[in-house]
């Protein structure tokens, strides 16, 4: 998305991804990028608190910062923020799952990756808050499977064995949901267990079409990237931009995934 916008607006964009999604890897990366003295830095902060100080530093260098996706404790140094509220994503995830499970309700569970990544933590937080308010649904807790897909599969299979009456599962990011899907496929319970996830990678959409995953809360990374660069260009041209702007998220299901309305939000190839 960012690249497309860059072409459109004639800006020069370089993309860097940290090896691990966490502040310990992101901060040095940020600093190295800064050494190239760009005009703008667009980033997806991995931690609400940890990035405040480094970004202050960045801002004091006269570089303008645009945050996408995750927010920060202190937003004063940001030129603009574009993104989804991840707590809200979590709530949507809960509602989507509840809808898939249907009115009879039953036990549901959350399979997460590793704790300590604020995007994911917030989604889990939102999910837990929202699911508690939904009637008929009994939430039996969050299990962390780490980033290993097979561990998530192993974990969810065990959960299924321990709770044969499980009717739903949610996962806040891609790897756990792939593992959960593997377990569902293997156990052949795709009809009885509803699964909801976040994001829409090629693999997840494939699983959605297959009917193993039932709902995806799809953010709009393309849109986010696009808007971020757009905002940057606007600021560069001296135009005003809104300090906060959201792109919202949309629920994808097997039935609507091929609608053009939805598919335009899907990840387009490589976006990191």
């Amino acid at each position: 998305g960012a690249r497309a916008a860059a072409e459109e607006f004639g800006a020069d964009v370089t993309v860097q991804a940290a090896k691990n999604y966490g502040p310990a890897d992101q901060v040095p990366l940020l600093n190295s990028v800064l050494a190239r003295s760009p005009d703008f830095i667009i980033l997806d902060p991995t931690n609400r608190t940890s990035l405040v100080a480094p970004l202050m530093d960045v801002a004091s260098q006269g570089v303008k910062v645009i945050a996408v996706d995750t927010t920060l404790d202190d937003t004063s140094m940001l030129t603009a923020r574009i993104g989804t509220d991840n707590v809200e994503v979590g709530r949507q995830l809960a509602r989507a799952l509840a809808e898939q499970v249907g009115p009879e309700g039953g036990k549901v569970v959350m399979v997460g990756s590793s704790p300590g990544i604020s995007t994911v933590d917030q989604r889990i937080q939102g999910f837990e808050e929202e699911i508690a308010t939904i009637e008929n649904i009994e939430f039996i807790g969050t299990q962390y499977a780490g980033n290993e897909v097979s561990q998530a599969q192993n974990m969810f299979s065990s959960l299924l064995s321990a709770n044969p009456d499980l009717v739903g599962v949610a996962s806040p990011s891609e790897n756990p949901s792939m593992g959960v899907a593997g377990a569902i496929r293997n156990a052949g319970v795709s009809d009885t267990v509803s699964a909801a996830g976040v994001d829409a990678s090629e693999a997840q959409i494939e699983l959605l079409r297959e009917g193993i995953l039932d709902a995806l809360v799809i953010q709009q990374p393309y849109e986010m990237g696009y808007q971020a660069v757009e905002a940057a260009v606007k600021v560069a041209n001296g135009e005003e931009v809104a300090a906060e702007s959201g792109t919202g998220a949309i629920i994808g299901t097997q039935t609507n995934i091929d609608d053009p309305e939805v598919s335009k939000y899907l990840y387009k190839g490589s976006c990191i």
């Binding site: 192993n154 065990s158 064995s161 891609e174 790897n175 792939m178």
Partner: protein, 344 residues
Amino acid sequence: MSTIESSKDNAEVNDPAARPQPSLLRRLLVDRPEMMIILALVIIAGFFVAVRPDAFLSGINIRNMSIEAGMMMFLAVGMTYVIITAGIDLSVGSLLVLSGVCAVLVMRMIGIDHPAAPWVGLLVALGCGTLWGLLNGFFVAVTRLSPLIVTLASMGIALGIARLLSGGVDITGVPRSVVNTIGIGRVMGIPVIFLIATAFAVLAGVILHRTRFGLHTFAIGSNPQAAERAGIKVRRHLVMVYAISGFCAGLAGYITLSRFASTTIAGHSMDNLRAITAVVLGGASLFGGVGTMFGTSVGVLIPVVLASGLVIVGLPSFWQEVAVGIVLLAAVLVDQWRRSSRSR
């Protein structure tokens, strides 16, 4: 003790008959190196069965554990060879990913519905793994660098290439037939993955323990110079051992594809340590020369049973990590106790 003919009169001191006879149990535990670790496994599994027999022994859990163990076994087979030569291979997880990515890309290229696609994909995965293993082996054997550093570097390179090729996102394009026959296939209720893994492990075990190739592997780990002087081509053998490890990673990569119907680029960073753990739990020594394929297969089972069982008994997520560490430590402790009681 003395040697060569004249030593006969020594027998008076060391004659077996003169020794106090150890109890049968003790002899079993002490003389069969794998007994202790099997005992540990039995205790662990027994505990879970006692607490939640329904859930732990449910078809779904057994099947899942067998798949999980099977997957890890592929990597552990190669790692057993490598560790017996006193080496180590940190690159297996990345290589698994890279082989998978290459296979998917090639299968997509020839069309995933093409009837030959599954076979071509398999060949690509195995070829890619083996080739990479050959490279590892080359650096270890010919330039004599530390295997830890070589495979650490090649781990990073392989993952980087995998991400370059895939653009950093997981790609789909695994023929359905592969997913159906291997990934979720069963024969008489037994997961195909488990069957393949078992057959593979048995084959690898037979080669390790019955053939010249296997004997040479032990000899090299035990004393590379002696092996060299006995006429074994040590370098070539080492290259082959790392190639085997690469082949195993390639196979694991292909089967992972069939399991998840897509690549899983980000999810294998701990595979190397898990495979090493399994091999060491199985009684192999990181200093080389010692290890059995049977021990490794028990060593693979322990973490799998533990992970699954702890979820089933409902231990909260974070406690599980703590428990896994403690049980691991306990398992090697009893094993250590056995060894020291043998050497005494």
